[in-house]
Every structure is written in structure tokens, then in C-alpha cells.
């Protein structure tokens, strides 16, 4: 015990030092750009290595650092989004209020604008948090719509098969046959770029995948003996679908939904970047990145890197959590 304590301390110190290095690298005053990159990479490496060691010491060998890092990131982001209005953030949208702010300020963790400002002096941290709000709301809404509709269609197709399945097959294959970007651009020209409409448009992308997974999983469970037993007891079709099959189909579908959130965040960002999504000054990560078009990126790389980092970390985290959920709940690996 006495021997492991110093090692635990060492890991904890390394973890904190790693984060400090990342913060330092983000501050303009201490290093030249090239050196900042080196310091940032070193900080990330130190944080991962010591964080992983620390976790293993504290929670046992099964500790998965990248998973818990992802969960932490998602929880923090979720909290920030939910509490954005009450957080001491800079101005994110109203140019009139940012007249006194420096424009294109570089990130400085110890200033009023920790992640810098954009061309209009709007605070990038605040814009990233509010941007996360639209991104997450759109992605999550779209995935919920897609999961409910796609899951229901898939389960019905998988359970009833025959002509129902054939019709559903034609429907999903037609949706898959339309290139997603073209579908989105077409919809964007018709629909007003509002959160609700974009969420609806994106949900069309998730439906075929959900239908397929729900259908395949239902077909895996439908011939199982427990379904036969339920029918023999006199269960109605609705009861079999809801009580017997749904609990078994739900977990694999939810894990796919988590992964899909990350895909839709990217899709939404791409739409905004192309100017087809939410329009500025209302921030989203996509239109924030688009602000770096032209020579801006060369002069002020943080304009692109800050929302880019938010996007990257969030997508990375959703993917990782979704993958882990899939491995845990994949029907093929469930021992029955």
C-alpha cells in the first residue's frame, strides 16, 4: 500500500501537468507557434499516459481511459449547453455588445476570452458552447426521430416478413440510393433553415440504417424459442413486439444511435459550412469553421481550430461510447 501511494501521486501529478501543458500551449505569451504545437502534443500524451495509469491504480486494470475521458467530455459539454445562459461567458451573437472586445484575439486561458474572439470580437468559447447547443439539439432530435421511426419500421418488417418486408426493403433501398448530400441540399433549398427542419432532413439519413439493424435484430430473435413460448401462451402480436422483442432489439439500436449522433454532428456541420444550415450570426460549429475561409485561417488559425477541436472531441467521444456500447450489447456476442 505504502509503495503504491507514491506511484498514484506521480500519475496524478502527471495528469494535472499534462492538462497544464495543454493550457500553456494555448496561451500566446509563452511560446512561438511551432513550440506551442510540440508542447500541446506533449501535454496530450502526458495526460493520456498518466490519466490511464492513474485510472488503473484507482479503479483496477479494466479502466478504459479514453472511454471515461469521452464520457467526461460529453457530460461537461452537456452541462455547459444546458447551463449556457447562466455561465459567465462572453458575448456570442450580438455584435453590438462586442464592440469593446478585441477582434481576432488569440486564445489566452487567463483572459476574458479564454479561447479568443472572432472577426467581430465575439467570444469563441461562448460561440462554441452555443454552437454545441444547435449541433447537439439537431443531431439528437434527428437520431431520436430516426430511431423511433426506423426502429418501428424495422421491427415490423423483421417480425411480419413476407410482403411487409418487401415493401420496407424497397423503401429503405430507395432512401439509400439517393446520395445523402444531394438529398440534404435538395431539402435545404425547399425548407427554411431552422433547427426543426434541419433535424427533420437529417433524420432521413438515419432511418435506413436503423431499419436495417432493427429488422436484422428482430429476425434474429423472432424465431427464438421464447417467442414461440409467448405465442403458445396466447400473447398478441403487439405484446410480442413490445414485451418480448423490443427489450432485446433496443440495446443494439441505442448503441447505433449513439454512433449516429456523431455522424449527424458532422453532417450538420457540413451543411452549415456550405451555408445551407443555420445562418450566422447564430453560431454552429459548421458556420464557425466557415468563418475561417480564405486567408483568415493562415492569419488566425484559432478561428477554425477552436470549433474544430470541439467538433473533433465530440464526434470522437460519441463514436467511442457508441462502439463500447455496441460491443457490450451486440446480439451476436450476447451469451444466450
Amino acid at each position: 500500500m505504502s509503495r503504491t501511494l507514491p506511484k498514484t501521486l506521480l500519475s496524478a501529478v502527471g495528469f494535472v501537468a499534462g492538462i497544464a501543458l495543454i493550457l500553456l500551449s494555448a496561451s500566446p505569451d509563452y511560446f512561438v507557434t511551432a513550440l506551442r504545437l510540440v508542447v500541446a502534443v506533449a501535454g496530450v500524451a502526458l495526460m493520456i499516459v498518466s490519466g490511464s495509469a492513474l485510472g488503473k491504480r484507482l479503479f483496477g486494470d479494466d479502466f478504459d481511459f479514453s472511454f471515461w475521458f469521452s464520457v467526461t467530455w460529453l457530460v461537461l459539454l452537456g452541462l455547459a449547453v444546458a447551463l449556457a445562459a447562466w455561465l459567465p461567458l462572453g458575448e456570442h451573437i450580438d455584435v453590438a455588445n462586442s464592440l469593446d472586445q478585441p477582434i481576432n484575439a488569440s486564445p489566452d486561458p487567463f483572459s476574458a476570452n479564454p479561447l479568443g474572439t472572432n472577426l467581430f470580437g465575439l467570444d469563441l468559447l461562448a460561440r462554441s458552447v452555443y454552437g454545441a447547443r444547435s449541433s447537439l439539439v439537431i443531431a439528437v432530435t434527428a437520431v431520436v426521430i430516426g430511431t423511433v421511426i426506423g426502429g418501428a419500421i424495422g421491427m415490423v418488417a423483421g417480425y411480419f416478413q413476407k410482403s411487409v418486408d418487401r415493401v420496407v426493403g424497397i423503401f429503405t433501398n430507395s432512401l439509400l440510393a439517393v446520395p445523402p448530400l444531394i438529398l440534404l441540399i435538395a431539402l435545404a433549398t425547399v425548407l427554411e433553415p431552422k433547427i426543426r427542419n434541419i433535424a427533420f432532413a437529417l433524420s432521413l439519413l438515419t432511418i435506413p440504417g436503423m431499419v436495417r439493424l432493427a429488422r436484422a435484430t428482430t429476425m434474429l430473435y423472432a424465431p427464438r424459442e421464447f417467442v414461440v413460448a409467448a405465442r403458445a401462451l396466447g400473447a398478441t402480436r403487439a405484446r410480442i413486439l413490445f414485451r418480448e422483442l423490443l427489450p432485446n432489439v433496443l440495446l443494439p439500436i441505442l448503441s447505433l444511435a449513439i454512433v449516429m449522433i456523431s455522424i449527424l454532428i458532422v453532417a450538420e456541420a457540413s451543411l452549415s459550412f456550405l451555408g445551407l444550415g443555420i445562418e450566422p450570426p447564430e453560431p454552429t460549429w459548421g458556420n464557425m469553421i466557415a468563418e475561417g475561409e480564405g486567408s483568415v485561417f493562415e492569419d488566425y488559425p484559432h478561428i477554425v481550430l477552436v470549433p474544430g477541436a470541439f467538433l473533433f472531441l465530440t464526434v470522437f467521444a460519441f463514436n467511442l461510447v457508441g462502439e463500447k456500447a455496441r460491443r457490450r450489447w451486440d446480439p451476436r456476442s450476447v451469451k444466450l
Partner: protein, 325 residues
């Protein structure tokens, strides 16, 4: 619920035919015209190898799927041709116990909910739910305290099969169809379940259809045995001294295939099937007698004319042209 005194058989099936399309206009002739009756309190054993259609018959009896032709009567009530809604109630007093007990139980439910499922479906709510669950768990030899809150994957195979039996009993069934109920269980546990089925049958006044491939197991639990080969019934006989009385060449082949330890007491003759002979495909079964391609007694007549089940006395029926009376 009380069972009204029965005049006729508990379960009667006539001329069952089940075929599965396999594409290109071909179909598997899984069951081709099999009839059976089960008297109240009787156990009918169905014996055969894999692919003989014995499990398909079990499923056809509970109309899952319904046979392509033929009739099934449970307690004098016709089941074939009923609408889905009527069928739900009509077949509820026939329950099925399947081979793999773990996958017969929804992996996401607890034992108490699994056992209570029938009452939840039919809305017999009411008083003393826990008491009734505990009673039926005790009746199948489980300790309610230990298993009530477990999920299927936390049970041993034998325990899971007991839960399946308990669940079936909650429906107050008249007929219990047991489809290979012990063949996925450990050898040391099989006898427990076989004894439990015997005891349950007596205690709850059940009729049993016991489907299995193991001659000794079927003989022990059944009153009468139907031997099936390639979708046809080839011999029906009382199980007492089955190993001495059986006359159909296929039944004799089954008996002579038993390990010597069990075989010593059976009749001395050994039917040697033609070693080369393969089990014919049920997509394109042989004409006439389906066993003729492997039968040592086969003649031209067997190819031309299908032998029908005929009575040879003492409740013994056989479908063979060459069995001497």
C-alpha cells in the same frame, strides 16, 4: 379452472401435412400425412432421427406454423382454420416445452415475471400473485427464494427447464408437448427433468406428447410410441416391451444402433442397413415406402406401392409390406 370430463381424446390430429418451400418450385416434405391421438392422461412418444419431421409435428400441433392440410382437435375443439384471435385462446391449454431451455426464456426478464406471463397476458390479475408464483416454482422443484429474481442466464440448464415447465403449468394445460426436453441438458440432470415430467403429468392430469430421438428415454416415459421416418409414421406400438415387439425394419435398425450396453436385452436379430445408404433428401423423398433405400427387405413392391399403417393387434400398427403378422 376445472377440466370437464372428456369423452374423446385430449388431442387428435389427422392427416397432417407440412411442407416448406425452398425455392425453384421445390419444397421440403417435412410431414406427409401423419395422424395421431392422445387419450386423456396418456403419454404419446414420437421417436425419430433428425429430419424425420418429429419437431415439425410438435409445432404443427400448436399451429406454429399451422399444417398445410389436416386437422388438429384439442379437447374436441378444432384448431385448424381458426382466426389468429380465436386461436390464441383455443390453443392456450396446449403448451410446449422446447429443447433449449435458456433460449426459451426471454433473456431480459426475471423468473417471477416469466412464470407470471400467462396471467399477465390473459389479465388474471388479482390476489396473491407472489403466492401463486412460489407455489408453482415449488411444484417444479425450485426454491422460490433463490430463483424468483434471477434472469435466465443466471440459471443452470436444468433449472431453466423447470422454469419453462412452471410457466406452462400456469396456463393449466390439458396437453403438454415436450420437444426434446432433455437433449440439451447435462447427463446427470436429465433424469431429474424426466422424473419431474412424470410427476407433473400425474399431479396436473396432463396428456403428454414426448418428442425425442433417444429410444430408451422415449420408451421409459411413454405409454405408446410412434416411430417416424422421413415425414411418415412407420410404426405405432405400446412402449411396454417395445424393444422386443417392434417389427418395422426401421425401428429394428434404431434399436440395433443402440450401444451394446442397452442393446443386450433386445431381440437378437440385427438389421444391417446398407452401409452406403444415405438418408434421402426430404425435398425428393423415395417413392412408395420412404425407408426402402436403406431397408434390407426392400423389393419392387416397396418402390411402387406405399405401405399404409395397418393394425396388427394389441394396439400395434405398422406400415410395411414385408412384416409377417
Amino acid at each position: 379452472m376445472t377440466t370437464p370430463a372428456l369423452k374423446g381424446p385430449a388431442l387428435e390430429a389427422t392427416d397432417l401435412v407440412v411442407e416448406f418451400p425452398v425455392g425453384r418450385g421445390q419444397k421440403v416434405h417435412a410431414v406427409s400425412g401423419v395422424s395421431l391421438t392422445v387419450a386423456p392422461g396418456e403419454t404419446l412418444g414420437i421417436l425419430g432421427e433428425s429430419g424425420c419431421g418429429k419437431s415439425t409435428i410438435g409445432r404443427a400441433l400448436i399451429q406454429m406454423p399451422a399444417p398445410d392440410s389436416g386437422t388438429v382437435r384439442l379437447n374436441d375443439r378444432e384448431l385448424t382454420g381458426l382466426k389468429a384471435k380465436e386461436l390464441r385462446g383455443a390453443r392456450a391449454r396446449m403448451q410446449i416445452i422446447m429443447q433449449d431451455p435458456i433460449s426459451s426464456l426471454n433473456p431480459r426478464r426475471k423468473v417471477k415475471d416469466l412464470v407470471w406471463e400467462s396471467h399477465a397476458i390473459w389479465g388474471y390479475d388479482g390476489d396473491d400473485k407472489d403466492g401463486k408464483i412460489d407455489e408453482v416454482l415449488r411444484a417444479v422443484g425450485l426454491d422460490p427464494e433463490t430463483v424468483r429474481d434471477r434472469r435466465p442466464h443466471e440459471l443452470y440448464g436444468g433449472q431453466a427447464q423447470r422454469v419453462c415447465i412452471a410457466r406452462a403449468l400456469m396456463m393449466d394445460p390439458v396437453v403438454l408437448i415436450c420437444d426434446e426436453p432433455v437433449s440439451s441438458l447435462d447427463v446427470s440432470v436429465q433424469a431429474q427433468i424426466l422424473n419431474l415430467l412424470e410427476a407433473t403429468k400425474a399431479r396436473y392430469d396432463l396428456s403428454l406428447v414426448f418428442i425425442a430421438h433417444d429410444v430408451a428415454v422415449v420408451k421409459n416415459i411413454s405409454d405408446r410410441v410412434m416411430v417416424m421416418y422421413l415425414g411418415k409414421s412407420c410404426e405405432v406400438l405400446p412402449s411396454e416391451d417395445l424393444h422386443l415387439r417392434a417389427v418395422h425394419p426401421y425401428t429394428r435398425l434404431l434399436l440395433s444402433s443402440l450401444p451394446e450396453a442397452q442393446q443386450s436385452a433386445s431381440a437378437g436379430d440385427t438389421v444391417v442397413a446398407r452401409v452406403a445408404a444415405e438418408l434421402p433428401s426430404p425435398i425428393d423423398p423415395p417413392s412408395g415406402c420412404r425407408f426402402r433405400t436403406r431397408c434390407p427387405l426392400a423389393t419392387d413392391r416397396c418402390a411402387a406401392e406405399e405401405p399404409l399403417l395397418r393394425d396388427i393387434g394389441a394396439g400395434h400398427q405398422v406400415a410395411c409390406h414385408h412384416v409377417a403378422l
